[in-house]
Amino acid sequence: MGSTIQEGILWQSVLGEIELSISRASFVTWFKNTHLIRNKNGVIIIGVPNVFIKQQLERKFNPMILETLKKNGVENVEVEYKIQALDKEKTNQKEELIILSDQSSDRPKNKVSSLSHQYRQGLNEKYTFENFIVGAGNELAYAACQAIVANPGSKYNPLFLYGGVGIGKTHLIQAVGNEILNNNPDARIVYASTEQFVQEFVDALRFKKNTDFAGFYRGADVLIVDDVQFLAGKEKIQEEFFHTFNALHQANKQIIISSDKPPREIPTLEERLRSRFVWGMSIDMQNPDFETRCAIIQTKAESHGLELTSDVTEYLANYVQTNIRELEGALNQLLAFCEMRELEPTLDVTVSLLGSGKSRPKHISPRQIIEKTAKYFQVPMEDIMGPKRDKDIVVPRQIAMYILRSELHLSFPKIARELGRKDHTTAIHSIDKIEKESVIDNGVKTAIAKIKEKLYV
């Protein structure tokens, strides 16, 4: 027997060849947990996990195994199969010593041991700075995050990011975590959604493992908490969060928080937390502007290996104006459609797929817009429709006109009629004025964004 190959490697190379000649499922089912036990005096003993596999190898695969062994220079041997689990599984066979544990002491332990998860749990590696697209709406947030990566804990601590849904808050704060981890693989990064924080806190209380819980969060170098607005109304947890916050801040550990509203607008948030949230730096992330949306579309399309023409890009950027998640959705829809039908993503295809012209939602009536605007400014709707010319009525009225124009694309005379005005020039003037103001006046800008958000909920 002229075997030049060592025992362990022999079986590995046999498996390697067999893997190529049978289907993946068959290989996994029949050969995965087999191993060579002995190769001596012309008898090779192969360990197999159970009797089904033993029978199958003996009756079906034996010729193939002999053939493959021959190719590897092992001839005139007999192969025997023996049921013997791999060493790894053997440890399970030790006699179970302690049984009949009482339930209450056993189960919670398992539960809470999940708290000792690694200090990087929750971070998704796909979120990086490289694939984050910077535009006018988020450049400040981006710069702040970069600064934090360079010097965690010293600048902008805590960093509080807020803004509407789907504009990249999670992406940005996860990117911070990933980047810090890249620079320093030992850093203890804790990324937790508020929901998770709450859940673990409740578990800790239930199983009286409060110290584990506190220890875990307070041992972090960087604490990232997403969607903190969900803390609203949970007093006990706010208190725990407050202490965690203080402990970390005291030790100059970086804290990053995101929310969909600024701290002062989160209802029932305790005052001491509110003031701490705005302590470091709070940044409003705005909806992406047109150019940013175009850039996002192009980058995404490229990552799918496609280049879109500029008219398609612009169309898409106009089609979805606020939410990047929806923007990606529309793009994915287009790409999938084109791939399936083997079409080029031209403007015609895009328009026919996504619907023509402006994305005018049919279900929104002019009255709804006026109502939401009135509600946002907390003025009676009749006043907006009525003759009053006080400043706190006029501005909402003008904003309502602006939104009627931008969202429903109504004509000026129609807009004037909707608001009880006789002259359409009033509408022209108002819309013009708001358009200009929305660029310089942040208040107007957020008001418009908020009202729009409410409309599309």
């Binding site: 499922a25 089912t29 159970n50 079906k60 066979q93 006699e95 339930q103």
Partner: protein, 363 residues
């Protein structure tokens, strides 16, 4: 292959076999059943590589052959056919069914691809009455564990001790032991829970002797025309006998139906509390009280009279108690325990062959 079978027989065979075939397995052919002529009979088999079930039915074999076809499809199909003779004809890999006005073809996969089903060459053998096996299995398998992290506990343990065959299962929170019968064999079989569940289904509509053949790695149950082969779980079963209490400070002999009833009622109030109910025994007024609290909804105290010795209280999971009471026989039941932290035990005063041990919850 060309054969004739009755719809009733084929339907029954598929009913006991097809459940084993699983489409979740990585190997697609395991979702198929193997149909094969064996002499003058037809065998129908399925396997999930843990267990294999084969059902033999009588048929008129004109020419021999074998094929595998999708289990779900053929089962649903045959069960909706009218009763009568079905003719099966194999044409390459297509199996043609014809009966009455139905003409159907099911595409199959070559039987060469189907796993070889294990057989036992020189195993030991014993027999047991199917009714007895059924009764004992039902009583025991409720206590087996589903938790794969402790494989040994996912088995039902058939073993001989002092000339008796015993069946045992435990999930480490409760334990059930049934003494089945006298035996001369010396055996230690750890049969996977899913195999015993399947076995229970098979024996439930069969009367007669069940033949059990086993060797070190596998066990074969022959139940009339059905054969079930299962791999045995490797490993040593815990020395459970030392855990069964021998003496009790407190015991209560009660009407089983009464205890079942008040436990059921109490469990309604224990839902949010992991089923925890507190049983309180008092020998002064000879009653057993069950107390359960649902902090939001209210609370419940139910009681029953009985023959009581000693006093004390213990907190149990009501689900475990209910499971045990459901499978126990006899009119009376003895519930005994030693303080709050020691295991409690249920037994039938007239039938010493079954005991059920439940660990308390720490309250």
């Amino acid at each position: 292959m060309k054969i004739q079978v009755t719809q009733e027989n084929l339907n029954k065979a598929l009913g006991s076999v097809a459940r084993v075939a699983s489409s979740r397995n990585t190997l697609p052919i395991l979702a198929n059943v193997l149909i094969k002529t064996v002499g003058t009979r037809l065998s129908i088999s399925a396997t999930n590589l843990d267990i294999a079930v084969t059902h033999y039915i009588g048929s008129k074999v004109t020419s021999e052959g074998s094929i595998t076809i999708p289990a779900r499809l053929v089962q649903d199909f045959v069960s909706s056919l009218p009763s009568g003779i079905i003719e099966l004809k194999l044409d390459e890999y297509k199996l043609h069914f014809s009966t009455g006005t139905y003409r159907s073809t099911i595409n199959g996969i070559s039987s060469e691809e189907f796993p070889v089903l294990p057989d036992i060459k020189d195993g030991k053998e014993w027999t047991i009455d199917s009714g007895l096996l059924k009764k004992k299995l039902q009583q025991v398998i409720i206590a087996a564990s589903n938790d794969d992290t402790r494989p040994v506990l996912t088995g039902v343990y058939f073993h001989s001790s002092e000339g008796k065959l015993k069946i045992v299962a435990t999930d480490s929170y409760r334990l059930a032991e049934a003494v089945v019968m006298d035996t001369k064999h010396d055996m230690n079989l750890l049969v996977p829970i899913n195999a015993t569940q399947e076995l229970l289904r098979i024996v439930s509509d069969f009367e007669g002797e069940v033949r059990v053949t086993y060797d070190d790695q596998q066990v074969l149950f022959s139940v009339g025309d059905v054969e079930l082969v299962a791999r045995l779980i490797e490993g040593k079963y815990p020395n459970y006998e030392s855990l069964i209490p021998k003496k009790f400070d407190t015991s209560a002999k009660l009407l089983k139906s009464e205890l079942l009833n008040i436990t059921k009622v109490s469990s309604l109030f224990a839902r949010e509390n992991a089923g925890s109910i507190t049983l309180e025994v008092d020998d002064h007024d000879q009653t057993l009280n069950i107390h359960s609290i649902a902090s939001q909804l209210g609370e419940n105290i139910a009681s029953t009279k009985g023959e009581i010795k000693g006093e004390g209280s213990i907190t149990l999971n009501s689900r475990y108690l209910l499971d045990a009471l459901h499978v126990m026989t006899g009119e009376d039941i003895v519930f005994s325990f030693n303080g709050k932290l020691e295991p409690s035990m249920l037994s039938n005063p007239k039938d010493k062959d079954y005991i059920h041990v439940i660990m308390p919850l720490k309250s």
